[in-house]
Symmetry: C2
Subunit: 417 residues, 2 copies
């Protein structure tokens, strides 16, 4: 997007636990995605331990970047030195911010806890910098604008480490300031289209060239197991043009255009149609039911889940014929159909999905190698549909890929209703 | 551990996708854990985009660190410049390594694919450096020892990015060289004890002081939902002393001392006792069954999972009395017991667990707030045991915490058999 100034942004994450491997650093990826929505990029991300180690890293960054976002080290303990070292590096005095002190006092009063002396330093702020309110914790953030910052032209954001404090503060306080710094117009928005059943390379071959021709449109892909997300960034006209190109070619594979997950989409469609849902799972072992019940309000539409891991469970709970299992095998079209129809009948729901497959590592054969699964969808008053998939992956990824294919089959069936 | 030299190790991860947030950078945490096992620490981790950006970062690191591990950028495309830039920064000439070229040729021949010219650069190596074989991909790693490296005293490891290539190469090629650099004796080993039902602060208060007194023992904690891992590092005597201190105080809460997960431990105990297992889940919605079926070989012991989300499912599938649900509520001790006993009876297994609770966000009351769950364990020929837990968390974390408590109840019951 030509109207956005090229802004070099660096992220510094402080936290010994991030370097010991106890905690996965998810901030880096999160900032990457959020900044991408503004058409911005991270030029470098650095992780340093708690304490003094941030000094060198910050000093180097100030000489390179237009903006730096530092997370962590704003707490009350002796290891929390981000505020103090930043002021020192920038040559700014720290003074107590009365509003921040008051709001700290209110935070503790509300929780009926005493504020200890150690917390007092959390109200310290470099002279002239902005305090960024933290409604979700004790550590306010700090913004030092470039004009204040005599030793460089770099804007400095100090933000708390815990995601539930960091994320709201980023949206409320950092985004508007970054937009101003980078000249990002409010007109620019992001759109995420989630697809399944096709791979990233299909998009490259199918629509990359056409997307590249849309003026002021930025786009990127993000591939997961059983899903590819297309991210579009631009003004309303550019987004609409990009969406049209993607849907013309791949509309049939669209899960959602509002960042809803597959399971959220299925639950929404069920609610809209006033239908109830049941699952009959062998190889996915309850994962489809668990994904559905991750969605708030799933209890309105999801009633019964049958995890029929053993053959006796398939016959006893779902009424699958033992001779069908013997003749065709537990992983077969016949058994998948019988499982879905059994689940529909036993649960009294409107629609049911079944899966039966070979997760491995053992149990495969030449005809039915590890990774093979049969999926069936049964619906009240309609035919049962079945199909075979093949996902030769490790056990967990196999379960995820098969559960995605099963939910996609339900989604497509519901779209026809 | 006093006999290990203090070695400053930095990690540089290259990859534009890591900074766009499309891919979570799991290398940092992985290296942190692996190096910790050697008694080593990462002093800084940096992520830079593909291409030329690694030059500055590498140059700075060479002046600070004793060893640097660089991942990514060893592929055949024009963006893969790690090898070339490293040689340039170190002032070393790149020459074709004949053994590497031969092994590249074999890699392609084995797969019946032609080797293209672009792959030729993957056999290039700085003069005198070591090629690190890559049995799992086309990109060999490179090790430049400090003595070769005229411009600094830093050892340089260049490793491929994909985990399935990186991890084996790290263990086979990097660990022995790091041990030599740091003077880590082979005698030093790591031990991970996994606990549940107690928090990190219990360990701090309960055993920190005693662990600190054990000569040459390093220790650290890692807290997850429903689990705390204690990592011990040292020689055999130190590990045994540390283990004894931990188990004396918290042995009752131990899940495993061999890095086995809760579900792996439960599946192992079931196999050892020749018992089969069933689940009856309401609020966890299939998560317990899904965790159990993540374990290879689960089909030997796990037969039936009932996901009875609706009350009719509890009555219809498990024989819970409708009047009990009406009088006591679906989230109650009476219903939890009836669900576990119903699952045991309907499945014919040796042991069954049930959970019924309020995941939220809706559905809570003053008496039974969101986060409440009842768990029951029924066993053939023994009494049914039930207890209440309270985990007021978001929906997914609630499900995980309750599933952990349920599996822990099964684990304890199995230990008594």
């Amino acid at each position: 997007m030509s109207q956005i100034r090229a802004v070099k942004i660096e992220v510094i994450n402080t936290g010994t636990e991030l370097l010991l491997g106890n905690t996965l650093n998810t901030h880096g990826a999160w900032f990457g995605r959020e900044l991408f929505k503004l058409g911005l990029r991270i030029s470098r991300q650095t992780t340093v331990p708690d304490g003094d180690a941030i000094r060198d890293s910050l000093q180097e960054t100030l000489s390179r970047a237009d903006a730096v976002i530092v997370t962590g080290g704003l707490g009350p303990t002796s290891d929390d030195l981000t505020r103090e070292i930043t002021a020192e590096v920038l040559g700014l005095e720290l003074i107590t911010d009365e509003a921040a002190l008051r709001s700290l006092g209110e935070f503790f009063a509300l929780r009926g806890k005493p504020m200890v002396d150690a917390n007092l330093k959390q109200a310290l702020c470099p002279v002239g910098a902005d305090i960024l309110p933290n409604p979700n914790g004790t550590a306010p953030g700090i913004y030092v604008p470039p004009r204040l910052n005599g030793r460089s032209n770099c804007a400095v954001f100090l933000l708390p480490g815990p995601p539930r404090e960091l994320y709201p503060m980023y949206h409320a306080e950092v985004v508007p300031r970054l937009r101003a710094l980078a000249g990002v117009e409010n007109l620019h928005e992001a759109l995420v289209l989630k697809f399944t059943g096709i791979g990233e390379s299909d998009f490259h071959q199918g629509i990359d060239a056409r997307l590249a021709e849309v003026p002021d449109l930025e786009y990127g892909y993000c591939a997961h197991i059983g899903e590819v997300d297309l991210r579009l960034i631009g003004d309303a006209a550019a987004l609409e043009a990009g969406r049209k190109i993607a849907l013309e070619r791949f509309g049939n594979y669209l899960i959602s255009d509002d960042e809803s997950s597959m399971e959220e989409t299925v639950v929404r469609l069920l609610k809209e149609r006033g239908m109830t849902f049941a699952t009959a799972e062998s190889c996915t072992g309850g994962l489809i039911a668990s994904r559905i019940t991750n969605v708030p309000g799933a209890s309105e539409v999801f009633t019964h889940g049958f995890v029929t891991y053993a053959n006796e469970a398939k016959t006893g709970l779902l009424g699958v014929s033992p001779s069908d299992i013997e003749i065709h095998g537990a992983v077969s079209e016949v058994v998948a159909r019988a499982m879905a129809e059994g689940a529909l009948q036993k649960s009294g729901t409107g629609i049911a999905v079944s899966v039966t497959g070979i997760a491995g590592p053992g149990g495969g054969s030449e005809e039915k190698p590890v990774g093979t699964a049969w999926i069936a969808v049964a619906m009240r008053g309609g035919p049962t549909e079945a199909f075979r998939v093949f996902h030769p992956r490790n056990r967990k990824d196999f379960k995820l890929a098969v559960s995605q294919a099963a939910l996609e089959a339900v989604r497509r069936r519901l779209k026809e209703v």
